[in-house]
Symmetry: D2
Subunit: 139 residues, 4 copies
């Protein structure tokens, strides 16, 4: 069945690189979160600022699995692709991969939950948000 993919490019900047001249692992996760933020803002029309400030909610990471296939250097343009692998009432398994030109750089799965700020127990995604997320589900 057809499904949507969210795609966005990011540049490898000074702040991402370590003394070895390649992306520093923790900074990769800043890039992944940027992709997630852009997906929420641009595709799901529910930006994190609304999620946190108005809904007093958050999306805690519960499980992360990341594979790094080849290093990324300062100035590289990374093409990120995002889709959903699973969508439950209060969690989502998100797949993000990055390429530079034709080379596969990394891929990761994030299991995110939805919760009220101040609690760690999960709560169901808002209906409208969940419907928009479902369009990115790869079956």
């Amino acid at each position: 069945m057809a499904h949507k993919t969210f795609e966005i490019e990011k540049k490898v900047r000074m702040q991402h690189c370590d003394p070895g001249g390649v992306v520093f692992t923790p900074q990769y996760f800043n890039l992944f979160v940027e992709v997630l933020e852009d997906w929420f803002a641009d595709a799901l029309r529910h930006p994190f600022s609304q999620l946190i400030s108005q809904d007093s909610s958050g999306t805690p990471a519960m499980h992360i699995e990341a594979r790094f296939h080849a290093p990324s250097k300062l100035g590289d343009t990374l093409a990120f692709r995002l889709h959903l692998e699973r969508l439950r009432s209060s969690t989502a398994l998100i797949h993000i991969s990055a390429r530079c030109a034709s080379e596969r750089r990394c891929s990761m799965k994030f299991l995110y939950g939805f919760s009220r700020l101040g609690s760690f127990g999960l709560t169901p995604w808002p209906d409208e948000l969940r419907e928009r997320m479902a369009e990115f589900l790869k079956e």
Copy 2:
């Protein structure tokens, strides 16, 4: 068989926390890398500054799996424990977990390789470094 464990405490600081008041996922990875740096410097007596500047080498992350059990807040003291799950000629599977008092916060496995800067192909760990690492191997 007996094996060593490397233990170190880290405080959750301003720089680690997001607008939700808990540790921001990418910043968790900065804490994990700090633990790794301390292990190399304090236990393996082979600090990253030597590894990078003198040996022109690095330890690229190849695979990461992380589980987050409960959120960590500003001011929390996290007790990290590190041991090795597997040690091969040019890779190491490192296990790090964090607790705050009696509560399990997160645990992760990092598969690191050893390589010369500028290449992504792996190369064997220096003998002396590998011997010291082996003491932290849990069989």
Copy 3:
């Protein structure tokens, strides 16, 4: 005399905000460096990746003065403007300011030098780069 101004917008993201929900001071400096990187890449056509990897050079900050007029929150769009206040053979005094809609948020002056990597002594800007920089000089 007419002079150019470099303008670019940046969004305040999760990674920039502290538990108080506003931009964390050190993260402001990441935004300023992004503006500088974009100026070098897009306006001066001499990206940092070329400066560092090919020219083995860098632009060490020598003096920074920053004023913060009002806080910036998650989701704000900051409009940055950059011009030069002074250009010498091996230094440049760069002025960057940020607004959100009609509100002044911050302004800063950076005195940057040009140097070869591994030395801290300064060396003259490459001629072509210096000529392009001069177009942004406010007299």
Copy 4:
């Protein structure tokens, strides 16, 4: 007149360094904020976690002036010294300098205010906190 100085050492870590192998300017500010956090927690006995979570307050930076005298490299141990240059009812001008062995690396002045979270108007320092801060005032 005698006054106290707060001193603490910090190591230059992977996360602080850029592809040029020296401390990346924005990361310097993370180190300065760490020094400030340690001063509040260890010397003033009023940690930021209490300030933010219990007092719903913060210390917005209003003006920063920083001078960088020589670069700092991965593995360097920086000795930070902090004292106060001025203390008003709702602001403090804080001086922090860093050395590595006998070499001066950087020095900066931070003008911080005290405010309630959610407002940018300033409010007086709590009396007890202000009294402890006053011991670090250099006259």
